[in-house]
Amino acid sequence: MLLSMDRELLHIIGVTLRMSFFSTLISCTLGITLGVLIGQKSFKGKRTVNKITGTLMGLPPVVAGLIVYMLFTRYGVFGELKLLFTVEVMVIAQCLLITPVVINLTQSVISSNAAIIRETAVGLNFTAAKRLRLLLNENRQALLSVVLNAFGRSIAEVGAVSLVGGNIQWKTRVMTTAIMLETNKGNFSFALALGIILLVISLIVNIIANLLVKEEKR
């Protein structure tokens, strides 16, 4: 059964990886930058910021999808862009969902040792750029976890992408929405097989990411 839908399955995996890659890239670029900024500094309102990002970590995917749907619907603010039911809008919805998670986790990682690392760096008379590099390098493993967490949320997410992407065959169908569809069709065992494929993809991405971080260590 899996073999018979080869070509379509490959397309679905392709869309899934494309979406998850860009969701992870954008949400981590934004989120880690902000998280590092917040984590290093102590300022008035830091707790409030953390409370907000912490709350947004519990944002239900369907709600994130709904917000993006309302914005991009034909009658919505960005309706003119005609982005609804595209991979682009799926990435936007996922970034809304994942960026707060990345900010919150990153700042918590950075907060835990920024002061000590800063002290060391100042003692060694490092420039600001070198100081930042040391900070990131020391937190490499933890930040990798943050990135993988973001990727995991993206690839496993169904509520938001189903709503704004529409699960359109040969266009916006991803692994999770395909699994949902097969379940709705009553093809339970096939749906389960797709779930296993999704896990294998996730495993491969995790292995590659870990290898990359190890390489850098040398």
Binding site: N167, Q169, K171, A178, L181, N184, K185, G186, F188
Partner: protein, 295 residues
């Protein structure tokens, strides 16, 4: 911490026992009487009072079952648990032994269900018509078509967006039957959108894309106010949509509430239900949504 865990564990077990106990008493006292019915007679609670129905969204989400069930439950003392999904999943759930009967609308799948021994007998009992909805200005010009096949051909010629359920539901199967051999290829024909979603989501999508969609009338009417779509074609002879009841076969599947399923089918095909079905929708939409099959 350990203490807390122990307390939690104890509580869980207590609940589990309570739940088991509850079930026991139910089976011990099968002939318990419930409250008086309207006409003053008392209705006996049947020995196995729960009926599980696996049905399609067009019957449940359109409000028909929620409208009928209270009357059935009052008249017979049964409690009905409704699971609604697309016809494909609805039938699969029954094949997995999770339903006592099915109420669906896909003839070929129903016959397969009976032939494979899962169902006892297919009992068609009511019908309505699929309708083709689309933007009010009708860019493909299907308004005056004789039937759905002709309308579909025009949509294909004009390459106007057409949203297909693509989920092996009864509506999807009906759509495929209308296309026949000319079913578009979703990969090559970009106007043919295989959404793989429920009726409501497909209608929203058709609204967004200003496309056409084949839908059951009940679901469309229940959403019409939120959609910029109109009914463009209805009552073509190839758009008839027949609903059937099938009792699950207790010889093939374990733990089927056969008496319950029989009672439900008897009631649904009887005079009380017929009168209710014929009235359904008249008040809200000005026309009945389901019609009874003449015997």
């Amino acid at each position: 911490m350990k203490k807390l865990l122990a307390v939690l564990l104890a509580l869980t077990m207590l609940f589990a026992f309570a739940a088991c106990g509850g079930e026991k008493t139910n089976t011990d006292l099968p002939e318990q009487t419930t409250g008086a019915a309207d006409d003053g007679t008392t209705v006996k609670t049947p020995a196995n009072p729960t009926i599980r129905i696996s049905t399609t969204t067009s019957v449940n989400d359109s409000g028909l079952l929620p409208y009928l069930l209270p009357a059935f439950e009052k008249a017979t003392g049964y409690t009905v648990e409704v699971q609604s999904a697309g016809t494909g999943a609805a039938i699969q759930k029954a094949k997995d032994g999770n339903a006592d009967l099915i109420l669906v609308h896909a003839k070929a799948s129903e016959e397969e269900f009976v032939n494979e021994g899962y169902g006892v007998e297919r009992i068609p009992f009511m019908y309505n018509y699929f309708v083709i909805v689309g933007p009010a200005d009708d860019p493909a010009g299907i308004k005056d078509c004789e039937n759905a096949a002709e309308a579909f051909a025009k949509i294909a010629d004009a390459e106007e967006s057409f949203i297909s359920r693509g989920d092996e539901s009864g509506t999807h199967k009906a759509e495929l039957k209308i296309w026949g051999e000319d079913v578009p290829d979703a990969e090559a024909d970009k106007w043919y959108i295989n959404a793989g979603k429920g009726m409501g989501a497909c209608l929203s999508m058709a609204d967004q894309m200003k496309g056409y969609c084949l839908t059951d009338k009940a679901t469309f009417l229940s959403m019409k106010d939120e959609l910029g779509l109109e009914i463009l074609l209805e009552k073509g002879e190839d758009m008839k949509n027949t609903y059937s009841l099938i009792e699950c076969n207790p010889e093939k599947l374990a733990d089927i509430n056969t008496e319950g399923a029989k009672a439900f089918i008897e009631w649904m095909t009887g005079d009380d239900a017929s009168a209710l079905i014929a009235e359904y929708g008249k008040e809200q939409y000005g026309a009945a949504l389901f019609y009874l099959l003449e015997e």
